[in-house]
């Protein structure tokens, strides 16, 4: 893959300048830590939909999605069933009460609902570790993309990208993250949609390209794709249900909604638009990549998207259009790191320092102090992630794909049952969270470190994603420790189950 040269560099420089400008503008709206972490809870339906879309339809979902689709089949890799079920779970069971509690983060929920500083700290630790690991991987991806596509040296590219997103997140908090995500979302999709006629001219319409993909790769349009087993497919669906329902970037937006109605109504709109966009961004472009450029990239399928875009734009005689589309996707990929930085910063400043250290000890600090601490945490975490990204063992990069999904296992049942039943006890939630995450991590070992052993002695283990045993381990404590007695204080009961406060069956203490 050759670089995009000066056109790409100029577009990239303009995009990055816009991000920094947004950071400075958003900084003017920051007065308290509530402004910083949840943008003052001012989001209406329109802003919520665009912000949620921007956080799920980032650069990676196009670049990685086209590569996966080209390789394994467009229907198999698109878990629409999972997206729809997960969105239904958030709408029906999570959003209202999460917004009612007026927290900032998921550990806020775990700590407040189960009245446990340990659970708050454990949740914050899981989010911190997974976000930082994911951020390290993203910083390296950013370095590779900038080097390969724009010719910027690897370390310089990583430093430049990291420096820019640390700057605008530090200045503008969630507001800057949302505005930059929206801007890059619009720019990325403008580039992708502008490219549509060139792809159509080269590959034909949807029906034609899907049929052609099935001809060159039998099974490409089948439910299981070209190579997946049923076990792996069902695992894949389960991973996405859990991962999407507990996706921290989505849940953070729920906390930022204006009220409980906005928090719910925005979600199905997001879900429907998300699926429509991916029909083009993954299914159609994935089929086109398989048909048009697979011979060039069969040994390096990650190159499917840039190879396709370069091929069709050069064929159409408009290479600048290719530069626009690829730069939009690369810039949007950079922006995915901003949410991760914000979440890991929140885990340190809000969850550990404020809620686990200062407040339990009765140490009073001003909002101005907490805003300052939040900014310092963002700079420190971002800088450490950059340093770690300079020398990262391959194993850590492999762990990332599992670590993010495992976050879901730690939170799924404590959220599903804890938000909808007052009977889920602190003990059940704590053991569910710990057992789920530990079981998932142990199951990850044969996938990463003992692959040869597993392939010889227990190949079925490789067919099951670690999320599945994680979920099994997480549900057992919920069943074993479920209680017929409500074990929460009256104030907590009033926050989460106000409708039951006067119920005669409640035995809140």
């Amino acid at each position: 893959m050759t670089g995009l040269g000066s056109i790409g560099l100029i577009i990239f420089a303009i995009y990055m300048a816009m991000l920094v400008a947004i950071g400075f503008i958003a900084a003017r709206f920051q007065r308290t830590s509530e402004d910083f972490w949840v943008a003052g809870r001012r989001f209406g339906i329109g802003l919520m939909v665009v912000a949620e879309m921007a956080s799920v339809l980032h650069g990676g979902s196009v670049q990685g999605g086209v590569a996966l689709a080209a390789r394994f089949g467009g229907v198999a890799i698109l878990p629409y069933i999972s997206f729809a079920i997960a969105s239904l779970i958030i709408v029906r069971f999570f959003a209202k009460k999460l917004r009612m509690m007026s927290g900032f983060t998921l550990p806020d929920y775990m700590g407040a609902r189960f009245e446990s500083t340990f659970l708050r700290g454990y949740s914050a630790l899981i989010i911190f570790i997974s976000s930082v690991l994911y951020m390290i991987a993203q910083i390296r991806v950013m370095g590779f993309l900038l080097e390969r596509l724009l010719g910027i040296p690897f370390v310089a590219g990583m430093a430049l990208g990291t420096g820019i997103f640390i700057l605008f997140v530090t200045l503008g908090g969630l507001l800057a993250v949302v505005w930059t995500d929206i801007l890059l979302f619009v720019l990325m999709w403008t580039g992708l949609i502008a490219l549509m006629p060139a792809v159509k001219a080269a590959a034909g319409g949807l029906t034609h390209v899907l049929t052609a993909a099935d001809t060159v790769a039998p099974g490409w349009t089948s439910v299981r794709g070209t190579t997946w087993s049923w076990t792996y497919l069902v695992s894949w669906w389960m991973v996405w249900v859990v991962g999407y329902a507990t996706r921290v970037t989505m849940i953070t937006k729920v906390f930022a909604a204006k009220d409980t109605r906005v928090a719910r109504i925005s979600l199905p709109i997001t879900d429907a638009l998300f699926m429509i966009f991916l029909l083009y961004g993954n299914l159609y472009l994935g089929a086109a990549a398989r048909v048009l450029v697979w011979n060039q990239i069969a040994t390096a399928p990650d190159q499917a998207f840039p190879a396709l875009v370069t091929y069709v734009s050069v064929l159409a005689g408009t290479p600048w259009l290719g530069a626009l589309a690829i730069t939009g996707v690369v810039s949007a990929a950079i922006a995915t790191s901003d949410s991760l930085l914000l979440m890991s910063g929140a885990a340190v400043a809000h969850d550990f320092l404020r809620k686990c250290y200062f407040e339990p000890r009765g140490v009073a600090k001003t909002e101005r102090y907490y805003l300052g601490i939040s900014r310092v945490a963002v700079v420190v975490v971002g800088t450490l992630s950059f340093v770690a990204a300079l020398r990262t063992p391959d194993l850590i990069l492999n762990i990332v794909s599992y670590a993010v999904a495992l976050v879901g296992v730690a939170f799924f049942f404590p959220m599903l049952f804890g938000l909808n039943s007052p009977y889920l006890s602190k003990r059940a939630a704590t053991w569910s969270s710990v057992a789920g995450s530990v079981a998932g991590m142990v199951w990850t070992i044969p996938h990463l470190a003992a692959t040869a052993w597993a392939r010889q002695h227990a190949p079925w283990m490789l067919d099951i994603h670690p999320v599945v045993p994680g979920l099994v381990a997480a549900i057992i404590p919920v069943i074993v420790f479920s209680s017929k007695r409500i074990e929460m204080s009256a104030p907590t009961m009033r926050i989460f189950f106000p409708e039951r406060v006067d119920s005669p069956s409640a035995t809140a203490n």
Binding site: V75, T207, L210, T211, R261
Partner: protein
């Protein structure tokens, strides 16, 4: 039988079932929006 270039089973799994679930969500949210549901 193919619909939009997809085999029938893929069409149902990829589009029909998810669309039905999303439609139910819209119905639920419409009730929330019109305050027929809290």
């Amino acid at each position: 039988m193919r619909i939009l270039g997809l085999p029938l089973s893929s069409f149902i799994v990829l589009l029909v079932i998810p669309a039905l679930i999303v439609l139910y969500q819209f119905y639920y949210c419409w009730q929330v929006y019109t305050r027929r549901r809290d």
